[in-house]
């Protein structure tokens, strides 16, 4: 699954550590999410979408 977390984080001027702190996860988890090595749980996906003021569908895209 692809996602736009890195772009949204860059636009918000946040570091991985700052985003991790805001989401209550580790910096390594944010890194894994951004590189597509880890797919988040539904609650974390909602938290990410809520943090950036958008929807899950706008952030996460299924690979075709």
């Amino acid at each position: 699954m692809r996602n736009d977390i890195r772009r949204l984080r860059d636009e918000a001027g946040l570091s991985q550590a700052a985003l991790a702190e805001a989401l209550g996860v580790s910096r390594q988890t944010v890194n894994s999410l951004e590189t597509g090595r880890y797919d988040p749980s539904l609650p974390l996906a909602f938290a990410i979408a809520h943090h950036f003021g958008t929807t899950i569908e706008e952030i996460f895209h299924v690979d075709d």
Binding site: V25, P40, S41
Partner: protein, 147 residues
């Protein structure tokens, strides 16, 4: 002040309380194991259990301290030891433990064959536990790097 006015315990305080309970429970468990070995007249094994247990508790406390001091730097294992894993850490440890479970069937079969072949059962049992611990550590490291 009624009970409903009592402020909710903060997540950090709850986390600290859980960690302290785990630490004290671990110390009590080690104490029981040591007492059992002493009662069975196995002072060397009791000493080994006490030393090993103390090292584990010390590593847990160290991991907790590091994870609070510089959370971005610590590994999955350190967060697990500190009692502050996130959902990816839980996923990694779940995968690692499932691998250990699978390997345990293989090791039990090999161990049984070794005992049947005449090897010392206590040595085989000790090596089996050691192999399972190594499997857990290696799978944790590999899954953390991949996941």
């Amino acid at each position: 002040m009624s009970t409903t006015d009592t402020p909710a315990r903060t997540p950090r305080l709850a986390s600290r309380a859980r960690f302290l309970v785990a630490l004290v429970s671990g110390a009590v468990a080690i104490g029981i194991v040591v007492a059992v070995f002493v009662a069975l007249d196995q002072p060397d094994t009791a000493s080994g259990a006490a030393t090993g247990g103390a090292v584990v508790l010390l590593l847990m406390a160290l991991a907790r301290w590091r994870s609070r001091r510089s959370p971005a730097q610590v590994s999955t294992a350190a967060r697990l030891g500190a009692g502050v894993p996130d959902e990816r850490d839980k996923s990694i440890v779940s995968g690692a433990l499932s691998l250990v479970g699978g390997v345990s069937f293989l090791l039990a079969s090999v161990g049984l064959a070794c005992v049947m072949a005449g090897l010392d059962a206590r040595a085989v049992l000790g090596l089996t536990v050691l192999a399972l611990a190594v499997t857990l550590v290696v799978s944790l490291v590999v899954l953390e790097r991949r996941g």
